[in-house]
């Protein structure tokens, strides 16, 4: 926080200069309408740096991954790998400050890197990175979902990550081209009230919830981005007709519409509804906050069903990154045992690196057969949004 504040004060002074200059700049800006001319010199430097950067520290990080996680606050096992980095790093984060600032601070302390994090909405951040083009001040894009990473990667703005970093994470949770890597996993789940239902009552496929026995017992949040990605997955896997029929079926079953996942989980706990479609960690957070037991559990599909989608929050390094070494150190740290433990314990997500224990209340990732889908394909939300509107849900 302190570093942030000093930054902003310096910027106040810069702002005065900036304001004076703004009026002068405007005509120039309007005049040079030139476009996205990729100053492609940046890319080769980036890759060569990435190559050198991966050398010594890589081995330490991988070996650290094998050791069981210790206390996140103590001196991390991976510290020697990152301890000597120094310099600074700019992260554009679509993940909120509430969720990741603590682990970012740990990285800064461990590596001596001064980390500047810009927080914002994942999709808007992606749009900003695309607009900045070759002039982006960002080194890293840390996104809430794989779709936004895919959109930035498609415009050639993400650089290939070192193989040893990519290899820390299973292939299904990273970019097929090695342009981004998943940091933590977020499974789609059916949250159900344990006083009304038992696990065996959950139908074999999420598509079966259109059965009239579920009339007036369900809840969902059609405006939620994760839900929309899940619908996109159904579209990609089973086709638009199936997806539309499913949406209409659930709607006709009188599913109650909620603003967000938390509200669904609360409604299930209160017994207002019997079950709802959510991301797994909302219940985990409420369980952790409640301290005791709550009458609700997650059911996570594991049979390759469209309902068995596991999306990731992930990160990629920009081709224009000026701080390649620090950027790689950052991603390496996020995949280190202490950071992965942080995501497992504090944000209640799935750790994606082998050897880091998953919350015992969760079905381990190894037991979830996720549908065969490239997570960056979930970027194409537009048709999904249109379908949701057609069905009258948006």
């Amino acid at each position: 926080m302190n570093t942030n504040r000093s930054v902003s004060r310096r910027d106040i002074i810069r702002a005065l200069a900036g304001l004076a200059g703004a009026s002068l700049a405007a005509p120039v800006l309007a005049a040079c309408g030139g476009e996205d001319n990729p100053a492609s010199t940046a890319a080769p430097t980036a890759t060569s740096q990435a190559g050198t950067g991966s050398g010594g520290s890589a081995a330490t990080a991988t070996s650290a991954a094998a050791t069981p996680a210790s206390t996140p606050a103590g001196t991390p096992a991976g510290a020697p790998a990152t301890g000597t980095v120094g310099g600074s790093l700019t992260v554009y984060s679509g993940r909120s400050e509430q969720l990741i600032q603590a682990i970012v601070d740990q990285f800064a302390a461990a590596s001596g890197v001064e980390v500047k994090v810009r927080y914002g909405d994942t999709a808007e951040m992606a749009a900003a990175i695309l607009e900045e083009g070759q002039s982006s001040p960002a080194d890293i894009f840390f996104a809430q979902d794989a779709g936004a990473l895919g959109a930035v990667a498609r415009e050639g703005l993400l650089a290939e990550l070192p193989a040893d970093v990519l290899d820390l994470v299973e292939a299904r949770f990273r970019s097929p081209d090695g342009l981004w890597v998943g940091i933590s996993g977020r499974a789609r789940a059916v949250v159900y009230n344990t006083e009304r239902l038992s696990e065996s009552d959950i139908p074999p496929s999420i598509l079966d919830f259109t059965d009239p026995v579920w009339k007036d017992r369900l809840g969902w949040a059609p405006t939620n981005a994760s839900f929309q990605a899940a619908v996109t997955a159904i579209r990609v896997l089973r086709g638009d007709d199936v997806a539309r029929a499913w949406l209409e079926g659930i709607r006709d079953n009188g599913a109650r519409v909620f603003e967000n996942n938390n509200a669904i989980v609360s409604a299930v706990i209160d017994g207002e509804i019997d079950a709802g479609f959510v991301n797994h960690y909302y219940l985990m957070r409420q369980l952790a906050e409640a301290g005791g037991d709550l009458p609700a559990r997650n059911y996570i599909y594991r049979n390759g069903d469209p309902g068995a989608l596991v999306n990731v929050a992930g990160a990629g390094i920009l081709t224009t990154a000026k701080n390649q070494e620090q950027a790689i150190a950052f991603i390496r740290y996020m995949l280190s045992p202490e950071a992965q433990t942080y995501f497992a314990e504090e944000t209640h997500e799935y750790p994606l690196v082998a050897g880091v224990p998953t919350d015992p209340n969760l079905v381990p990732l190894s037991e979830i057969q996720t549908p065969d889908i490239d997570l960056s394909d979930l970027a194409d939300l537009e048709a999904t949004l249109e379908m949701l509107r057609d069905v009258g849900l948006l």
Binding site: R14, A22, Q98, R118, G120, A128, L130, E131
Partner: protein
Amino acid sequence: MTTSGASMPQPTATPSTQPARASRRLWDGAPVPPLLVLPALVVALLMVAPLVYLVLRAAQAGPELFDLLWRDRTLMLIRNSLLLSAAVTAASAAIALPLAWLTVRTDLPGRRLWSVLTALPLVIPSYVGGYVLIAALGPRGALQGLLEVIFGIERLPEIYGFFGAWLTLTLLSYPYVLLAVRSAMARLDPALEEAARSLGLGPWESFRRVTVPLLRPALLAGSLLVALYVLGDFGAVSLLRYDVFTRAIYNQYRGAFDRSLAAGLSLVLVAMTGVVLALEARARGRARYHRSTVGVSRPPTRVRLGRWTPLALAYCAAIVSVTLLIPIGVIIHWLIRGLRAGEPLWLVWSAALSSVSVSLAAAVVAVLAAAPIALMAVRHSSPLSRVLERLSYLGYALPGIVVALALVFFGARYAPWLYQTLGILLVAYIIRFLPQALATLRAALMQVSPRVEEAARSLGHSPPRVWLRVTAPLAYPGILSAGALIFLTVMKELPATLLLRPTGFDTLATQVWSATAEGFWARAAAPALLLILLSAVPMAVTAWREGKSDG
């Protein structure tokens, strides 16, 4: 230029005899001081930046843009947007006119308090207002809870769709009309009404035929702000799920990551803005509204409400409860619920300080930027001044994300030294909100007689000196309310702040956003409450002052 102006006393006579013709001479070097034109042109150039960006981007879109535009759906969205805009504007005027009259022209008990309270809904951000309305009036919201206890009603009709969006936007934006009309009403010369009465018109007739036409510019200025605000709003319509044009634009950014199509759609929104502006221009006409004879206007006489007092009080109380008490009540409820659940009181004072200082700076800069355009529009009306004035509305009716991305584009590529500084943030605020300052200043200036300025000029003062020593003091209340309006709007601004702020620069609005994005309602409550309270201060002070000056 200034010396020639000062040495020629005659021109002052010309405009008063032939105002319309004399004012058209600007293009061929009529007496508009360059000191006015140059800054006005610079500001106008800033205003055009988003348009340039949109044209550049849209030019990259392929034929799919035309496919997108030529669908029935596009027509439906345009219709929905215009319908919502018209309905909210009409409802705002209907709420605001009686409120303005009651608080300015009657003996309503607690007039000044009411005039402060009824202006305050403006400080509630639409993204908070939308949530609150759903929480309060939703199918199973607080109202339903109350009705269930009393009448056993288990479910209220859905508020989603046109009705909810219309209600939210009306309740949050009627103060634009109220403020404009009220200050015009307070400065209205009662001699005109008295003359009408003395010529045999009844009270209602004289109100209709004299007062209302005199209020027309203020009514139009306020309505224009509401109409364009609604066209560009995304927060309320998305929460309340009414399908309008801005949602199509956001879907391109968020759903498809397609900036070219988004730009193409935004240009359609620009065209819609143009239509609204043209309508307003036609309605506004060329009339002049200052006194044309010597003399000073007195404070208006007050109508005695008598037995109507309880009804008037009930009306004010109803509006204030729905627009102010319910939202603040819901937020306090969230806060208490969170504190009970052991949530720490999440208040970062540095964010409050950032919010206040950046909003203050924006208020000052926006008023300074609006002044030359307003002076030109009122004192040296010409095709150029009208173009400049219209241009300033461009950024106002565009969704915040579009303006923000335009500045990301220009800033990152061509002005990296300015990018992600407070400087570019202030530029964004000016582009987004200048019309608010402009409309208020314009209305204030229209009621300052040029005779006074001409007198000062004839005594040998240069134009800038006249503006500073004569015009500004006379228009002082207008300048203050323009600043207050910008202040509170910037306090709650979100999309541009998120994308353009210096890294690590947190405001109360970004904190509310940060908490609500993850569904931490209790954590959003404290900064939201502080945001509302702090924004309310300048608003309350100006409204209170206004009450004093006519009381």
